[in-house]
């Protein structure tokens, strides 16, 4: 019973008692779930390693550099999917970075205010479209168009350039390593553009205005002031896009052609780690299954490294900015 005299003290005490226990429980629960995030990472690593072990034990280090992938004779080498993964992502970066850069410049420096938000949202919606939709569109619309128009054009021009010529050869069927790279580029543009945009927006106005005052053109401000200032963040954003491209599955499975043969031409069908898994996993067993899980582990480790580099660059930038604020 709370009376007027001892009320507040009693209430405070009660609050304190229930508070101590409640706080402990609440904090403990929160800690438990935070630890669970770490557990998921270690769980993935350990379980995949355990399941992939038969493959590593059987093929040893050769698993990484053998190009055979023979399901019937149970001979597995990861070279073709690993190379395919890296090359498609590289194509995606080469195409996606300049485009993202242009979009970020347009939104931060060129667009009138009323346009910034809608254009920004529309570009970000590209990231929301499910991967499988890119796959269907890529296979039934983009690939045929590309094979009929862009590919002959590129083979006729770039294909004759010494050194890089052989890369731009291949049958005009549309599904290829290069097509997969282009579709991946469209998918990662929103991620890279949005990081670049956020970075460009925090460049101090004084810096930009001083450069303008010295007679710089807009492009010179971008190239010589904004870009050096945001270098770390821009690299972080590119790495983030690369990480996304490496692990993208469904879109690539539709347009890459799913051929486990090694070709130099970018217009030949190929395969990536993720597309191989999507195609073969449900029919696999034994050593085949183990090899696919080994592929998954390799993919996870590659993306982990790339994303860690991305995070490192972005964190560094955050620290620099915090330092300059105080």
């Amino acid at each position: 019973m709370i009376t007027l005299e001892n009320g507040p003290a009693k209430l405070a005490k009660r609050a304190q008692n229930s508070g101590v226990l409640g706080d402990k429980v609440f904090r403990g629960t929160a800690f438990f779930f935070a630890a669970m995030v770490l557990a998921v990472l270690f769980g993935i690593m350990l379980l995949l390693l355990k399941e992939a072990w038969p493959t590593f034990a059987h093929f040893g280090f050769g698993f990484f550099y053998h190009s055979e992938w023979d399901v019937v004779n149970e001979k597995f080498g990861a070279l073709v999917p690993i190379v395919g993964t890296l090359v498609t992502s590289l194509v995606a970066i080469v195409i996606g970075v300049p485009v993202s850069f242009g979009i970020a410049i347009f939104i931060t420096l060129m667009a009138p205010n009323w346009m910034k938000r809608p254009v920004g949202i529309a570009i970000e919606l590209l990231a929301a479209v499910p991967s499988i939709i890119y796959g269907m569109w890529g296979l039934f619309y983009f690939a045929p168009w590309f094979a009929n128009t862009m590919q002959p054009l590129m083979t006729d021009t770039l294909g004759n350039v010494p050194l890089i010529g052989p890369f731009f050869q291949g049958p005009p069927i549309g599904v290829s390593i290069f097509t997969a790279g282009v579709v991946l580029a469209i998918m990662i543009i929103p991620f890279i553009a949005s990081v670049m945009r956020d970075m460009f927006e925090v460049v101090p106005t004084e810096l930009k205005e001083s450069a303008y005052a010295m007679g710089s053109t807009t492009w010179e401000v971008v190239w010589k002031v904004i870009l050096p200032y945001t270098k770390a963040g821009v690299i972080g954003g590119i790495m983030l896009g690369l990480g996304r491209a490496l692990g993208e599955t469904m879109a690539v499975a539709f347009v890459v052609g799913n051929s486990l043969e090694l070709n130099t031409g970018l217009f030949y069908p190929g395969a990536t780690i993720a597309s191989t898994m999507a195609n073969e996993f449900n029919e696999a067993s034994g050593l085949h299954m183990s090899s696919l899980i080994a592929l998954a582990l390799i993919l996870f480790i590659i993306t982990f490294i790339v994303l860690s580099i991305a995070k490192w660059f972005l964190l560094r930038l955050e620290k620099v900015q915090e330092g300059s604020k105080t």
Binding site: A15, R27, V37, L48, I103, R244, G247, T249
Partner: protein
């Protein structure tokens, strides 16, 4: 030509290029959406929502797949959200910049962009293989693992926007810390946290890769989460690549439905956040 003119030309050229690539990006979105509408819209009819997925050569609908996607998504969000909110709360309210929370933050950001197919394989080895059969639960758990990082990130960001003074004011009135968090901080950050959950839902609704190895597919009506269950993304995958025209048409209808739902949810999420004025 003077040096100044050359600089001006370079400037114009690059700015026009920036304008061009932005238009290109918008054009791609328009192209994809127009393909979806022109191919999918004509096949959306009453049967799509009332009939089951058909055998090849017959007509049918997507009822079991729509139901399956809703159920799997619902459970994935139900499992993933509390985990994500509590972990995000720890990072914002208790962890500070300790080594543990920095590690969690780092790992969470990596998981945020980790390949979803690897998560599918992980859940396959964790649940499907020991159980010996594909199941809706495995699918929900795989998607829940994708929900967690999104919710952790947005929860932490949103809680950090709540002014410290608000927490201090509540604490000064004698409220224990959990009361401060639960009834003051959460309330202030509510719309931001809802945004996070909506974004996570939008992200997993169209996810195909993890479901291939977990929920698989089911041609018939099933509400048993212990068994393979039909879902939109896997139906799209199987039907789009099939040689049967009926199936392909259904795949386009399903593709349009799932894309519209995902985009609508995304826009809704942004609207929620804007209403809060947090950004």
């Amino acid at each position: 030509m003077s040096k100044y003119q050359i600089r001006k030309i370079i400037n114009y050229f690059n700015l026009v290029a920036a304008l061009f690539v932005t238009a290109l990006g918008l054009f791609m979105l328009a192209w994809i959406l127009s393909v979806l509408f022109s191919k999918g819209f004509q096949y959306i009819n009453w049967a799509v929502f009332t009939q089951m997925t058909p055998p090849p050569g017959a007509s049918g609908g997507l009822l079991n797949a729509i139901f399956g996607t809703l159920v799997i998504t619902f459970f994935a969000v139900l499992i993933g959200t509390p985990v994500g909110i509590m972990a995000g709360t720890y990072l914002s309210e208790f962890g500070g910049n300790s080594r543990f929370s920095s590690t969690v933050r780092f790992v969470n950001d990596v998981l945020l962009s980790a390949p979803s197919i690897v998560v599918g394989v992980f859940v396959y080895t964790l649940i499907v293989e020991p159980q010996g059969h594909f199941s809706g639960w495995a699918g929900a758990i795989a998607l829940a693992i994708l929900v967690i990082p999104v919710v952790v990130r947005t929860t932490e960001d949103m809680l950090k926007l709540v002014p410290v003074q608000l927490r201090e004011a509540a604490a000064a009135l004698g409220a224990p810390r959990y009361t401060v968090t639960l009834s003051i901080v959460y309330k202030a950050a509510l719309s931001g946290m809802i945004t996070g959950v909506l974004l996570a839902t939008a992200r997993i609704m169209g996810e195909t890769a993890p479901l291939l190895f977990t929920a698989l597919n089911n041609q018939f009506w099933s509400s048993n989460m212990n068994q393979p269950i039909a879902n939109m993304p896997v139906v799209i995958y199987q039907y789009a690549l099939s040689p049967y025209e009926d199936w392909q048409n259904l795949a386009w209808a399903a593709a349009l439905l799932i894309t519209l739902s995902v985009l609508a949810m995304n826009i809704l999420a942004r609207y929620t956040l804007k209403g809060n004025g947090a950004r």
